[in-house]
């Protein structure tokens, strides 16, 4: 009953489709970049689908209520997000990849590896939890200094939420200070896993255009031929 031996992360992608994911702390600009990348792929005629973190219809209500009533512990927080992810994998991501689509995911299992460990759950435990996930073909990590990310976020929106700030951990009474400490821990986890999981690191302090240029070059270098050969194409004419 000891821990099982270290197993490889994730299930191999043996299908026609491709999976591209972006990761990084809040305010790193990853959502902007994956949106631009998926538009570019779509414009080339590929069938592209998009999957967002925390969006399963059968889990969403439980997560929402748990957050509102502050019911989560580090373990249940981790498990409910894995449940959400499992539902998206089983009903959406896997069938689409089998069909040959390019699935672009804004956050993936790495978000849990960073955030749940920052909350105190075991590193190996959370990696095992996500072993059913499809291995991404490309994982981009948007590296940004904490202060730059915080500047983008704290200026731009109204209120930081309870769990986003890690206030369940009692790090600080001050919301912004708690957020700063918690995001700092998450950043450390991302940096520590970067080599282990094979991130393509993007310098997220560069201009939006430079970052996008780099992403596209990496996609072409690593997936260029197999995109052309195996990925599903959108129909030329869509009947209404």
């Amino acid at each position: 009953m000891a821990n099982p031996p270290a197993n490889p992360l994730f299930a191999p992608n043996r299908y026609r489709g491709k999976l591209i994911v972006v990761e990084g702390i809040d305010g790193s600009g990853k959502s902007t970049q994956i949106a631009l990348l998926s538009q570019w792929l779509r414009a080339q005629g590929y069938a592209v689908a998009f999957s967002e973190w925390n969006s399963s219809p059968i889990v969403h209500e439980t997560t929402r209520r748990g957050k509102k009533k502050e019911m989560f512990t580090p373990t249940t927080f981790s498990l409910i997000h894995a449940t959400d992810f499992a539902d998206r994998t089983e009903r959406y991501i896997l069938p689409l990849i089998k069909a040959g689509a390019v699935v672009c995911a804004d956050r993936y299992a790495y978000t849990a590896f960073a955030r749940d460990v920052a909350r105190g759950v075991g590193r190996q435990w959370v990696r095992n939890l996500y072993r059913f996930a499809i291995r991404p073909n490309l994982s981009f990590y948007f590296r940004v200094p904490l202060d730059v990310a915080l500047g983008r976020i704290l200026g731009g929106r109204d209120a930081i939420k309870y769990y986003e700030a890690g206030q369940d951990l009692g790090l600080s009474r001050d919301v912004e200070e708690s957020f700063r400490i918690f995001q700092g821990r998450i950043l450390d986890e991302y940096e520590a896993m970067s080599r282990e999981v094979g991130f393509h690191v993007i310098d997220a302090t560069q201009s939006i255009e430079e970052q996008q240029q780099r992403m596209r070059a990496i996609v072409l270098r690593h997936l260029g031929r197999s995109l052309e050969k195996s990925v599903l194409r959108a129909p030329r004419v869509v009947f209404q």
Binding site: M1, A2, N3, P4, N7, S56, I58, V59, E61, T62, R65, G66, M71, F72, T73, P74, T75, T76, L79, I80, A82, T83, A86, D87, T89, E90, R91, R119, G120, V121, G122, Q124, W125, N128, L129, R131, F132
Partner: protein, 239 residues
């Protein structure tokens, strides 16, 4: 004797010190329709009569995930991994918010199913046993696990006579193990029993022959619980 602190199977829960847990954790396991909840109800009444404070709990009853699981099961798109993890979430919520606080307060906790049912359901659906064992590794090792064991032919008669119909999930219809609910029930329940049998030795189940009458099973459970050295309350009636 018996002062040994509880332990976690493989994964400590953040913020929980097992040294503080003074109660007893007793698990009743077994397949669907074997009569677990009847036994839990009778044992609870008996233990309370004996002067013990009892918490009873069971699957899909958590404040956090109970409703969500019920709702997800009403649809027809709940995948095997999703179901496993939803139940694991439910279990973790009950463990941290019901079972552990009750153990801290010195209660006897009687739980109708535990991580073993979650594991058996996952294994019956072809999930990797090592994966689910590690996922549920934050479970506390109970003081006793009573496995109400029977054959699938006994279960099917309990279902037909007791309920008069087959349940979609008890028949494993999400996986369609057979071409109709009866065929699927038989194959799925056999797989569950095989999975539980496989855990019996590893996890030290006390196997109880559940083909007998509820009263006989109850008496055997009382005998078994008697071995756990629960604290004795003097001046109780009936002795």
């Amino acid at each position: 004797m018996n002062k040994k602190p509880l332990e976690f199977y493989s994964e400590p829960l953040p913020g929980v010190d097992p040294m503080e847990l003074h109660g007893k954790l007793i698990v009743i396991e077994g397949p669907d329709a074997v009569g677990r909840s009847t036994q839990v109800t009778a044992l609870k009444a008996w233990l309370e009569q004996e002067g013990h404070a009892v918490l009873d709990t069971g699957m899909a009853r958590s404040a956090l995930a109970g409703k969500g699981i019920q709702k997800a099961k009403e649809g027809n798109t709940l995948g095997a991994v999703t179901m496993t993890l939803y139940y694991a979430t439910d279990f973790a919520d009950r463990l941290e918010n019901e079972i552990i606080p009750a153990l801290r307060a010195g209660f006897v906790v009687l739980t109708d199913r535990y991580i073993f049912s979650i594991m058996a359901r996952a294994i019956a659906r072809h999930e990797d046993p090592a994966w689910i064992r590690h996922v549920t590794g934050f479970g506390l090792v109970p003081h006793a696990i009573y496995y109400l064991r029977t054959e699938v032919n006994d279960l099917v008669s309990r279902v037909v006579v007791g309920r008069g119909h087959f349940d979609y999930w008890e028949s494993g219809m999400d996986f369609r193990f057979g071409e109709d609910m009866y065929e699927s029930f038989m194959r799925y329940q056999k797989r569950l029993i095989r999975a539980l049998d496989g855990m019996a030795k590893v996890y030290g189940f006390v196997t109880i022959d559940a083909r007998r009458s509820p009263a006989e099973i109850h008496n055997e459970l009382r005998r078994q619980i008697g071995k756990l050295n629960l604290k004795i309350v003097n001046g109780k009636p009936g002795r």
